[in-house]
Symmetry: C2
Subunit: 206 residues, 2 copies
Amino acid sequence: MSKMILHEDPISGNCYKIRLTAAHLGIPLERREYDILAGETRTTEFLSNVNPNGRIPVLQIGDRFLPESNAACWYLASGSHLVPQDRFDQADMLRWMFFEQYSHEPNIATLRFWRAFVGEERLSSVQRAMVPAKEAAGDDALRLMNDHLEGRQFLVGSTITLADICLYAYTHLAEAGGFDLKAYANILAWLEVVRLQPRHIAFEDA
Amino acid sequence: MSKMILHEDPISGNCYKIRLTAAHLGIPLERREYDILAGETRTTEFLSNVNPNGRIPVLQIGDRFLPESNAACWYLASGSHLVPQDRFDQADMLRWMFFEQYSHEPNIATLRFWRAFVGEERLSSVQRAMVPAKEAAGDDALRLMNDHLEGRQFLVGSTITLADICLYAYTHLAEAGGFDLKAYANILAWLEVVRLQPRHIAFEDA
């Protein structure tokens, strides 16, 4: 593989997913840090050279740039033990990764970002109006995971996959968004299983 | 492959993606229709037997159920000419599919649904407050695609992939959400390229 650089902000769970995937696979990543809150991913230089979408993470592979955290995880893990070979299980793993981006991250990660980093008093009136719907949808996502995890150690199959890594990132930080994980016993058990995997790295150490 | 049943609502672009993928691959799909607006995906039976998330589409394969439209497309197309074998291109295809679910569908498809099916007068006050942000974010997504398509026929590589199929679905319906596609010449040319592919099926005939 070409040399890889992760363009990231350490406060972002989406960036942590990629570092966690790389740690599981023993792949070295060079890291380049940007401060989202200071607008460092909206500069002309970032938009022209790294990602016209103005978002991190971006995984740079040689001189090519790959945005979207879950796509970067796929790039790193494709062909490894983190991606099931079985056709259904592989698609089912992606199903959880799409669920993460559509039903989980926009609620659970966004409320964490608003509450722990932006500050509720600095939200716009539209953002403030969206809070109750994001709380309800975040709890729906957690309930769905919790029900699915009944009697299971992992989201797909019997070993850790990218589905677990990608959903671990913001689920284990959900309390900073105001979610009460004590209501979700299967999720708490699963977080512990993921945390105890060999080669796991913690968010704060990542 | 086992017999496959698509649980769907014909008004949904997410369901159309799966029918379009299947058409490109010559895979027969049995179809079972639900009326989202009449709440038919929120019945106890649907939630227990098809998808606890209460959403369509769901691709049923034998007695297993696969939610998330883009995961269903992956299941059908994995190993086919619609998925690049090159490691970067494959991840880049998924990048566009995650972009579709995170930055495109929640704006462009949601405004179409609100305006063409729910009706603006029946939106909640929170939904109404979200319209300007969704219009702006939808235009950001279209601009990003339009810029990327400069000098390209397809989103990834030189042949059609799932990235094109998944983004075609709601992009070609964007005007029903109030977006003006005439502002995006490269998108208009790309829509035509996708539409003229052998085995293409139109939304209304699908």
